[in-house]
Structure formats: structure tokens, C-alpha cells
Amino acid sequence: MSRRRWLAALDALLSHGVLIAIGLLFFLPFYWLVATALKPDAQVFAMPPVWAPHPPQWRNFPRALTYVPFGLYTINTLRICALNVLGTVLACSLVAYSLAKVRWKGREWVFWSMLATMILPGQVTMVPTFTIFRSLHWIGTILPLVVPPFFGNAFSIFLLRQFFMTIPDELSDAARIDGCSDLGIYTRLILPLSKPALATVGLFAFIGSWNDFLGPLLYLNDERSYTLSIGLQCFVSQHGAEWSMLSAASAVMTVPIIIIFFLAQRTFIQGITLTGIKG
């Protein structure tokens, strides 16, 4: 008995050892990012490397953030994110409802069309989509980045459909017999029951548009409408060797994502496991 306990303890110790060792490798780049951001210029290139900046240069942050208008970029990004979240949650939940809760001909067709959009490379539709937006005179505005979400995306629709399927049909049938319309069932029954799934989809939409690079690169050409990702990319080409400032700016762009992840961790992991691959 005691020998087994010993072995179990050894096993746990070994597991922790490996987990911590590899975990450190994963964490180290983050640490290095923040450490570099806080270094005085002389310590950035010091050999051997300086692990703890002394004294930490907190003013690197305001310096980096005022060099280029990061405040403005943040507001621009947040505006695009908000509209993306709204559009995605609204459109995807509507479509998912029709796939999960309404029996109608054409569902199959919608299903296959969703699969097609997932398989075909975005590059195929890139040029014509660009010309559509150009003929609408939308280039240089945020419209090409915020209007498409209002038509849904296959990934989020799949996820919501999977979730809606787990809500028993008896509930919606009972509501229907009580005279509730489908719109009523959708708003008063399905949506309130699906908050975790909706949160996940919203979260993905937020992170997706916060991190998006190609979209803003294609459609935003006025420096004042730049998002963080494009602003940061310009920063690289202008200040390629100023690593403390670059690191500070990168850290600032990363921190909100990390905070959001911590706030919504549970929803997040559940959501990913729900993505429909286990159907």
C-alpha cells in the first residue's frame, strides 16, 4: 500500500516537472515581451541578457502609445469588434435556429453551402469581393469589415446549431401549441437557454476581428482609420530596431485578449469542444 502511494506521488511529481518545464517554454516569450518592453535602451542589447529590467522603464508604454495614435487605433478596433460580435451573434443564431429547430426543405442545401465556404480558400473570392466593395465605394471605410458578419459564418452557425440541438424539441413544441410563433420561441426560449454558446460565438468574433490582419490591410487605407494590427505592422516598418517600444506596443495589443480569456475561460473551452466535430 505504502509503496503504491509512493509511486503515485512520484508519478504526480514527474507530471508536474514535465508540465512546468514545457510550460516555462510557453510562458517565457510572454515574459520576455514584457521584460523587453520595460528595459532602458542600453539593457535591450546587453550581453548577457538582462532578465529583470532595472529600473523598469514604465514610461516606455506611454512613449510607444503616443508615437503612433494607439488610442485612436484601439477605438477603431473596438468599434469594428463590437459590430462583428453583434452581427455574428444575431445572424448565426437565426440561421442556426432554422437548421436546428425548423423542419424545412433546403436545410441540406444550406448545410452543404456552409461546408463549401469552409473548404474553398478565401483567396478565390478575395478579388471579386474587393471589386464588389469598390463599386459600392466602401474601400477606406469600415463597412467591408463589419457588414459581412451580419450574414453569418459557417463555423459559428455550426457551433450554435450543435448547441440548439441539445435543447429538447418538447420545449419548443409546447410553446408552439400555446400559440407562440417561431420568432417568440427563438427570442424567449432558445436564446435565453443558449447564453453560454452565444457568449462563445461572440468571443470568437471579438478575438477574430481584434486579431484580423488581412481585412484591414485590404480595406483601410486612411491612417486615421487603422486598427491595432495594421498600426502595429506600420510601427514595425518605421521603428524596426526599437525593440522596447515595439514590445510595449505588442504587449498592449495582447493584454486585452489575455484578460478576456481569463474572464471567459470556461465558456471558451466549452465552446471549442462544441465546434461540431463531435456530432
Binding site: S15, H16, L19, G23, F26, P29, F30, W32, V44, F45, M47, P48, A91, L94, V95, Y97, V102, R103, W104, G106, R107, S113, A116, T117, M118, I119, L120, P121, G122, Q123, V124, T125, V127, P128, T129, T131, I132, R134, F150, F151, G152, D169, D173, A174, D182, N211, F213, L214, S229, L232, V236, L246, S247, S250, I258, F261, F262, I272, T273, I277
Partner: protein, 315 residues
């Protein structure tokens, strides 16, 4: 299920019929109405662009003057005159053949590690997962710094261990390896899906195998791995599609250099479309990309019958 609940409530079968028929006609309209956003979006942002793109690929088109039909000239030029096309295709295939399996194996390894029952697992999972949701531009800047040949942390560490210090992104022979290494940092993204599947592997199976005298390695090889195979297939297909479209990191970090060693297909395509405004040519390239991806995906599917195991079909 549905029928029974109606039946209970209406009690007399004849009443059921007209009600259901009206419901199904309504259902047709309702279904269509709820799916309308997708249907409209599909037509405007997918079906039309796909057709237009196929047409543009047969045209000389600079996005200013109307497209001019030139037949298969774009494709002929691509295959016979554009060295960068072949180079970028080769570079991209390199990422698919060398980078993707390494990344998939890393994700699986991490998932196995994180599937152990030890205290504080949430903290570990968080740390392993965070890099995969870090903004790509921020990741790229961070790794530009880490991979710096003289000042970067990675080469400093290698120097300490008296190992070779490659030039990474400055050396054509090492640039793609550097990007693959950076990709490993984000392996946590695929890990989550493996982890979910691992938690679905019934313990009774591994225990039964253990009773039959299977060692840990054999349990993994003959129980866990087959149970995971559908998820491996999923990650493989998604990774395949993603790798063929590798773009942002190369755009931000190397712009395709040094000596075109990181000029990937999607980057070449983007430059032709939005640097030279050769939109017809870029569209032709996009279709070739699609065909190459499709052929690879189909090959994977063809072989998958041999190595993917579906437990209890139609779960």
C-alpha cells in the same frame, strides 16, 4: 417524438393531420426566413465571387478597366513563365509536409500531457493555450525579436549550450524552420480539440487493455490513438487548408525574404493582386491553390479509411 407530443395533446388523430400540414407549409417559410441572412450572404459574398473569380482568371484585369478575356493565358504564364509561382508553391508545400505534421504531433503531445489528473491543471492549460490566441501581428513582432540571430533569446540559449546558432529568418536555409518553430508556440490551439476527444475515451477501454497486459505505450498505440483518429483527421484537414493559406506571419516578418525563401503562395498571390493589380492572374492563382488543396484533402480522405476508426457509427 414530435408526433407523440401532438398526439397526446390533440387526442384524436384526424385533427392531427391538417394541423401538421399547415405547420409544415409555415415551417418552409419560417425556415427560409430564419436562414435568409446566410442565403443572401452566400449568394453575395460567395456564389457570385466564385463565379466572377473563375471568369477573371480567364481575363486580363487590373480592377480599373473592365476585364478583357484572354483564355487560359494566365494559367499558361503561371506554369511556364513565373518562377516565383513554382518557388512559392514549393515553399508552401514545405510548410504543409514538414510544418504541419510537426505541429499536429506537438498539439497531440501537449494534449496527452494536459490530460493527466494532477492539481492545478487549469493553470497549465491556460498557459499552453494563450499563445494560440495572441494576435498574429504581436506574435510576429515578438518572434522577430526572439529569433534575432545575434540578440535573440533563442540563439543566446543555443550559444550557452554550445549548439549551432542558425541565422533563422536571415538565412534562406533556416527561414522556414524558424516559422515552423514559431508555429509550435501556438500548438495549444489544436490541443484543445484533442483534449476534448481524449476526455471522451472511456477509461474502461484502457483499463481492459491494461488487464490484458498492455503496457502504457501499447495502450496508447492500440486504444487511445484509434479513438483519437477522427479528431486527428479533422485537425489534419483544417491544418492542411490553413497551411496552404499561410500569409500574415510571412507578410509581417519577412515579406517573403530572404531570397524568396518565405515567399508563400498566398503572399505571392496577394502581391500580384494588390501590388501589381494583376487581378486576373491572382484569381487564376487562387483557383490553382484551390485545386492543389482539394487534391491533397482528397488524398488524405482516401487514405483515412485505413487509419481512422469510428466508434459506434452515428453517435
Amino acid at each position: 417524438m414530435k408526433e407523440r407530443s401532438y398526439h397526446l395533446l390533440t387526442s384524436s388523430p384526424p385533427l392531427l393531420h391538417p394541423y401538421r400540414r399547415r405547420a409544415s407549409r409555415n415551417a418552409q417559410l419560417t425556415g427560409l426566413a430564419f436562414a435568409a441572412p446566410w442565403i443572401v450572404g452566400f449568394i453575395v459574398f460567395f456564389a457570385y465571387p466564385v463565379i466572377a473569380s473563375a471568369y477573371y482568371s480567364l481575363c486580363s484585369f487590373d480592377a480599373i478597366r473592365p476585364p478583357r478575356f484572354i483564355g487560359f493565358e494566365n494559367y499558361r504564364r503561371m506554369f511556364t513563365e513565373d518562377d516565383l509561382f513554382w518557388k512559392s508553391l514549393w515553399n508552401t508545400l514545405y510548410m504543409v509536409v514538414a510544418g504541419l505534421p510537426v505541429g499536429l504531433a506537438a498539439s497531440l503531445g501537449i494534449a496527452l500531457l494536459l490530460n493527466r489528473k494532477v492539481k492545478g491543471m487549469t493553470v497549465y492549460r491556460t498557459i499552453y493555450y494563450l499563445p494560440s490566441i495572441t494576435p498574429v501581428v504581436a506574435t510576429s513582432i515578438l518572434w522577430l525579436w526572439l529569433l534575432n540571430p545575434e540578440m535573440g533569446l533563442i540563439n543566446i540559449a543555443l550559444g550557452k549550450m554550445h549548439l549551432m546558432q542558425p541565422g533563422w529568418l536571415t538565412d534562406p536555409a533556416w527561414a522556414k524552420a524558424a516559422l515552423i518553430l514559431m508555429g509550435l508556440w501556438g500548438a495549444g490551439g489544436g490541443m484543445v480539440i484533442y483534449l476534448a476527444a481524449l476526455q471522451d475515451v472511456p477509461e474502461s477501454l484502457t483499463e481492459a487493455a491494461a488487464l490484458d497486459g498492455a503496457g502504457k505505450l501499447q495502450q496508447f498505440r492500440h486504444v487511445t490513438l484509434p479513438m483519437l483518429s477522427p479528431v486527428i483527421l479533422f485537425n489534419l484537414i483544417m491544418g492542411l487548408i490553413g497551411s496552404f493559406q499561410y500569409f500574415t506571419q510571412a507578410y509581417v516578418m519577412t515579406s517573403g525574404g530572404p531570397q524568396d525563401s518565405t515567399m508563400f503562395y498566398a503572399l505571392h498571390l496577394f502581391n500580384r493582386a494588390f501590388l501589381d493589380f494583376r487581378m486576373g492572374y491572382a484569381s487564376a492563382m487562387a483557383w490553382v491553390l484551390f485545386l492543389v488543396t482539394l487534391v491533397c484533402a482528397l488524398l488524405v480522405f482516401k487514405t483515412s479509411a485505413r487509419w481512422v476508426y469510428y466508434a459506434g457509427e452515428g453517435r
